[in-house]
Structures are given as C-alpha cells and as structure tokens.
Symmetry: C2
Subunit: 295 residues, 2 copies
DNA sequence: ATTAATATATAGGTTAAAGCTATAAGTTAA
DNA sequence: TTAACTTATAGCTTTAACCTATATATTAAT
C-alpha cells in the first residue's frame, strides 16, 4: 500500500471514472487501472464495481475510503507544517517543570521572550518520573527536575541543591520551633506527594535518617492541595526551598530542617540523542544562570 | 513522500543507527541512507544530525516524527479492518431515519436481526436535508425520509403517504373538533421543525393551501421538544400519522386534517452509484413490506 | 600518533515496478 | 448497426529503489 495509490483511489471516487481521474492525475488510464488492480490484489478485495458507463464503490471500497481519508489529510498537513518550520526554525519550546519550581518561571520566560519574541514557551507541570518519559518521547525539549532515577538516554545537569522545610498548621507545636531536626519528625502525620514525585522520595529519605517510617495521611500531585491540607490541620509536609521563597506563606508555620545532609538536587535534563536548536540551549542557560545568581 | 520512507525514518528513530535499522528493514545501509536523503530533499530540511557514532533527531526530525506517527498507525488499522471486512463481508448497516419514524424501527430491526444476527444496525436520526448529505458522503447505507429536494445521485423509492394530524394543548378549542380543515388553522400559533426538515415544508404547504402564512412561535429539531411545547400551551403543531400511531398521546388533543390533498410522502433513499451488499437490500425490502402490511 | 573498529556517504550497476502507447473488449445511446 | 464512450490487456520504456564495493569520517584502544 502506498499514499500514491490512495490518491489514485481517491481521485476515481471523486471523478467517478478512471479516464477522467487519470487525466487529472496526469497519468494514462491503463496505468491507473493497473495500480488499482494491484491495490485490490494487495487488500484482497474489490474496491470498485466497474461497468463501462459507471464506476461505483463496493462496501469494501467505502470502508477503504473512510480509512484512507485521515492519511491523505495528514499528509497535506505534514507538507504545510514542515514548510512553516523551515521559515521560523522553531515555533515553540516545550519545558517540563516540577510543581514546586513554577514560581521561578516568570523571570526566565521574560528573559527568553526578550530575545525570542516569536517563539512560544509551553509549560508542562509534572513529577520527576513523567518528566523523564516526556523527554524520551520528545514531548518536551528540556525539564527542570529532581531526578529519582537516571536514564542513559538523558543528560543531567545539576544546577542547585535546595534546603528542605516543614510546613505545619498554624496551631501546631512546631510554630515555636526556630528549626527542626529529623528526629523531631517522629510521630507526626504527613501529607505527601504521590509515587513518581521526588518529594515523596525525599520525605522517605529524611524519615529513614531519623530511623522511622512516616505516617502518610494523604497523597496528592498538586502542591496547592498539600498546602490546603496542611492549613486545614490534616498533617505536616516537606517542601523545598524554592516553594518557600516564592509561595504565599500565611496561615501556616514554616520551619527549616537542619542538621541533615539531605538536600534536594535540581537538574536540568535533556535528551542525549537530540539535536537542539539554539533557542533551547539559550533557555537552558537562562535556567543555569538563574540559579547561580540567586544562590 | 511515501509510507515506505516514513517507515524507514521511524526505524532509524527506533534503532538509533542507520546500519541497525537497515538490517531490521531487510535493506542495505546505502539504500536506507539514500532514501532518507531523498526524503530530506523533498521536505527541504535535515531530519537527522549524523555523526559516525550517533544519529540524533533535529527539531524538524522531531516534528516529522510526530506528524507521521498517526499515518503509520492508520495504515496498520487499514490492513486489519479490510481483513475483518473480507471475513464478515459487512459489519454494520447504517440507516438514517426521520425522528417521526423511529417508532416503527423495533419491528424491522427484530426481523433483520433474525436473519443477520452478527450485523449491527446503526441508527442515525436526522432531517431530510442531512439525510441526503449523509448518503452522498456514504455515511449511511439507506435512509427513510420525506424528500424536500431530489438529487441525481440518489434513488427514491416511495413506500407510503402519511396522513397529517394536528396536536394541540388539552384545553385548546380544537379538543371538541372531530376533524380539522386547513382553513381552521388560520390565526393559530405553530410550533415547527426548523429548516431542513420536511415537516416544516409540509406546514408551509398546508397553510398556503388555506391562503395564509403560519405564525411560527418556536422552531426545533426534536419531536419530543415539540410535544412538550404543545403540551405547555405554546402553540399547535403538525405531526404525521406514524407519530400518532406509535407515540404517547396523553395530555394533548390529536385531530386529523381532512379535505386536504396534502400527504407526507415517505421514500426509501439510496445511493445510485453504490454497490450494496445483500443485507442492505434485504433491510430495504423489510421497510417496504412493513408499509404494505400496515397500510 | 597510529591502528582497528564502526559509522554514514558515494559511485556505479541491476532489477523491479510504475509508467507509456496501441489496441481489445464491453456497454450505452443514437 | 454503428458511434462514442468506457475499462482491460499486451508489450515496451523509463524511473527509481535496490544492490555491492568502496570511500570517508569519527571514536577508542594500542
């Protein structure tokens, strides 16, 4: 099967005769007949009921018509989109980012937009696991993440290591603490990120450092939800430095964790086997510089 | 551009080297290189960044990958579906029917299912105009309709002529009438089908017979809505015989229109230039017989 | 630095298939 | 019966997909 044959078939459906279709396709009528014959042989069923006066579609032909239509449409789209791409070079940059880091985007995006006003930035919020998958599927150009595993298809560029904090309800005993050590956390109820998010791994690591398993009351994928649950008194949660720096912090206590070696590494991750256009590299560097400046 | 080339491209993406991909495709490495080169020339952009050690996708390559994926998927589907069709011959029959006639379907479908238990019947309710369009697009095999125009691509098989009735609110003066003549309708408020439905044309014809233009209070596409509006006292409506025969009739008055030559013709319509399989012809005959039996 | 290994690209010839012209065979309408 | 129109067949030509052999380029190891 062949797009060319599909187009031939389509033309016959449109013009209702082989002869007319062949003319419009700029091929001879015998060639067209022969191609349709080959196609029918390959599919194992007759597509047209031919008489000398009229050509009609068989049931199989109708089905085939319905099946090839999206292919022909998509083929046209390919030519158009590749043409667009040639002119602009790059239409949009897709970036993956952890929910805890979205707050630092405005500054970076502003910087990027100044240099590349015509390139759109698409932001995809997701956890560490999904970010690696998205990169491998070429859905995003680069990601800012805290890796929980390492893929050989990706490059990991460390940019920062975040301190960790505890957020607690306003009336929680922790409100009087100036800082927290890991052993203070024993016996507390926790709100945690779900599987595939690095903060979950961090929580487990921190607790295992103090020698206990955390009592996780609730798991979710959105930082805002965690904040609401903490405020409402369901438990305490671990959050990273950048969340504290940029998020609204009223109605809850924020206490730093000290005397722990555990930090949350932030990496920019990119595909190894992908050639990136300049704007993407620039964006990567803006991220990198941002962390150097603010640390 | 060519599905074969798309498959070649896809294989290189998958196996990351030309040599490996060529092996899996059962062609030589130079042939594969040449094909990709041709493809790149046609598209006007480079798809791979090649070094001897690694092959990486360019931005254009990523885009191309995303664009061809649906085509490759659809191609597989074509082979599968055409294979299925060969075995079963016909998987489903699509019929178009007027909303006013759906009530007579159960009996006909039962009859059809007895003979063809493995063929599904898809029912599409629509107005006369849409039914002709659907037939011409091969979306339905046959339609039961009351034609408001005649297309040279369709065959029209008259099967019945319906009497016409008026439905009116329960407290409407018509409730005492044993029958209605067209002149009785002067000055009434009407609920009508919208453009493209034959009952709208019928209403206009009936009123013009009595020499006036109807005052249409509300237009809609669903018979059930019309019934509700009539019951709630918004106006009266013309309905055909088969609606009266099979629909629930409480909470409103139903009065026959007499001394009018106007009937509502019911036709089975089919494509002229389409080869129909036997089950469709049988279904057509079931419709035909049904009307002979019940008239 | 040199060499071995491994990758893609190029050159030139072979083969398969898509194309052509000419003509046959079938159908409809005058 | 014939003229006009259709699709199908026969046989040849041309295009392009494919091959092998070899060149070129890069990496890794000696």
């Amino acid at each position: 099967m062949d797009i060319r044959q599909m187009k031939y078939f389509h033309a016959i459906v449109k013009y209702k005769t082989f002869t007319k279709a062949a003319q419009l396709l700029h091929i001879s009528q015998p060639s067209l007949s022969s191609q349709i014959k080959d196609l029918e042989k390959e599919l194992g069923c007759v597509l047209f009921e031919r008489t000398t006066k009229i050509v009609s579609l068989t049931e199989a032909g109708i089905n085939f018509l319905k099946l090839i239509t999206p292919i022909l449409e998509q083929e046209n789209r390919i030519y158009q989109e590749m043409e667009d791409l040639k002119e602009i070079g790059l239409k949009k940059v897709n970036i993956g980012i952890l929910p805890s880091q979205v707050f630092l985007l405005p500054k970076i995006i502003l910087q990027f937009k100044k240099k590349y006003p015509n390139i759109a930035i698409n932001i995809f919020e997701m956890g560490s696991k999904d970010m690696e998958k998205s990169l491998e599927k070429y859905d995003i150009h680069l990601g800012l993440t805290s890796p929980i595993s390492y893929s050989k298809f990706l490059t990991y560029l460390p940019v920062y290591e975040e301190e960790l904090f505890i957020i607690a309800p306003f009336d929680h005993p922790f409100k009087t603490y100036s800082h927290i050590t890991t052993s203070d956390l024993i016996g507390q109820d926790f709100i945690s990120y779900k599987e595939g998010y690095s903060l979950r791994e961090i929580l487990l690591k921190v607790c295992s450092e103090a020698g206990f398993k955390p009592n996780i009351m609730y798991e979710c994928g959105r930082l805002e939800t965690i904040r609401q649950l903490v405020i409402s008194g369901m438990g305490i949660a671990i959050v990273p430095e950048n969340y504290i720096r940029f998020a609204i912090s009223d109605k809850m206590s924020i206490i730093k964790i000290v005397k722990s070696d555990i930090r949350r590494p932030l990496n920019i991750i990119m595909s190894k086997d992908r050639h990136y256009p300049k704007p993407v590299h620039d964006l990567k560097n803006y991220f990198f510089d941002f962390f150097i400046e603010t640390s």
